[in-house]
Symmetry: C2
Amino acid sequence: MATRGQDALFLTSPQDIFYVTGFLTRFWESPARPWFLVLPKSGEPLAIIPEIGVELMSHCAVGEIRAWPAPVPGDDGVSLLTECLTSLVPEGGRLGVPMGAETNLRMPLADWQSVRQSLGQRHVVDATETLHRVREIKSEPEIEAIRATCGIADAAFDRMPELVAGAATLETLFRRFQIALLEEGADWVSYVAGGAGPEGYGTVIAPASGQPLRRGDIVMLDTGAVRNGYFCDFDRNFAIGRPSDAMKRAYAVLDAATEAALGQLRPGMTAKDAHRVLSEAMTDAGGVPAGGRLGHGLGVALTEWPSFTPRDETELRAGMVLAIEPGVEVGDGTILVQEENVVLRDDGPELLSTRAARELPVIAP
Amino acid sequence: MATRGQDALFLTSPQDIFYVTGFLTRFWESPARPWFLVLPKSGEPLAIIPEIGVELMSHCAVGEIRAWPAPVPGDDGVSLLTECLTSLVPEGGRLGVPMGAETNLRMPLADWQSVRQSLGQRHVVDATETLHRVREIKSEPEIEAIRATCGIADAAFDRMPELVAGAATLETLFRRFQIALLEEGADWVSYVAGGAGPEGYGTVIAPASGQPLRRGDIVMLDTGAVRNGYFCDFDRNFAIGRPSDAMKRAYAVLDAATEAALGQLRPGMTAKDAHRVLSEAMTDAGGVPAGGRLGHGLGVALTEWPSFTPRDETELRAGMVLAIEPGVEVGDGTILVQEENVVLRDDGPELLSTRAARELPVIAP
């Protein structure tokens, strides 16, 4: 903030507010109320929040809490927020607001416009960089928190033969997998997706359907479980019964790409370089890389920046926690995707997930 | 839209996009990419979305899909969106954007500002009313979907004695409760909160903690489980061992308030009237109503408008699905809260949740 001349930062997202204060609740699921956190350039953060959250926020790292009985039609925290911002940011000063990639302002747009107008000649500047360059480097306790969540998913994936046994549909499998994640210690399961088919799957973001699970299918489950506010985000593939040679080859392509990334990623490279490493490894192994990004950050959200795409020039730095996520085309619009979670160290990636089986694991049908 | 002279509506939230198109995914958990839906005043909705979602969206109720390989630094769907909006909304025309209570624009603010600038002399008007007056009235299939989700939570709450048995901490109980919801048929569990204490609880939005469960505690669990994209949102209270007379009285106050609301709410009243009915019933029964709202809508989100507060003048209409949620003060900063889900019919509320026990249920410790 100091470097960028920001007099205060204004935050509204669950992730930013948790990151700064430790305020953890699933109540973000309710879109009814906005929550505001203001970080002055010196001194403690100031929370301007609905009264319903005061008790919980009082145990968090904030210097002061101002509250209103939200929802209040006509003035839902707007005057409290305006008063705070105009007192902390001098006329002609700068208020930082995250307004770039992977951000959004979690408050009604009309309310923001009203606040913005009251700020008059103060400058509202993009604080995305300020946030991202700090949040993307995980502390050792954060890394341990993510490692613990990854361990929970590892343990659930280890139970796949038991989970698949007798599961007639993807829907049943998804439900059992979520139960397994909770049994293994997840506080909650914010994300499960997956797919199945004899030649992989057409989408990696679908919820469960009544699609039958059949001998010969490759089934993939992907999870963002949460423990103490920290996510994992990785998937695993399994063959139900003997897989085809084509599927084994596709899996080998993913394995080669993961190995290449584990061996070659270093601080100082860019996200774009990581994409190149993964793509080239897949091509060298005889595969066609799937479109879309091949990796990303994670931590207090299921996915964080940077993105392993041909366009993202974000520098990879020691302490980043990353999902390495090669995808390969296998059939007519179908793909296989493999994912590992790592922390980038000075000498390369350190696995937080347990490395996927090096050959496509087979579950007896 | 026609009444309000809107040439197109611009939607970005998971709930609005699901409501219009049926696009259901847990991938909203990833903040990385914005998703856009544009409804022209006539014709089919147009989806402008990241390529990763094209396959899933192709099964949804949209007329056309335009996609980009998000995330793309520098132009993350902005030029596609601008082109679409400028072609659908004539110069001097009106674009509706939800910007009022309970909305937020789920895209980077800087990108919206850039789109807004390209819209030139077109008017950007608040479409909150357009959305709310439609979404708040549930169709019979929607009501049945919510009833089904309520049934899942009912079944899980029925298992409370089994879930509490041997659960040393709230954390264990929360985990078991989520497992029970999944076992009873939830697709996923988007919300669980709760609390416990000899005189109720200080907050209703806290996640689980290692707090021990003790004989004499009143324990409350509240859930927003999801089935086919539709939420329930209700809680239940239980006494572990024999409750005090004060707790029995407080519970009776909640029961009286719920009965009053079930008996008296009618279309044509306002949300403010509902607050009054609940408050007066609690006062009449010798209780002190807790601050905050005493009910709200629900459906494709955990909570929807209106809010039963002294300030919300939204008209209650037949077809609204509502949470009736009286709260009563019981101790030094602690409360008890009871919640039921109903659909408002011409002749009053019809329960979607199974009416809570009329006396505080006791679980053997």
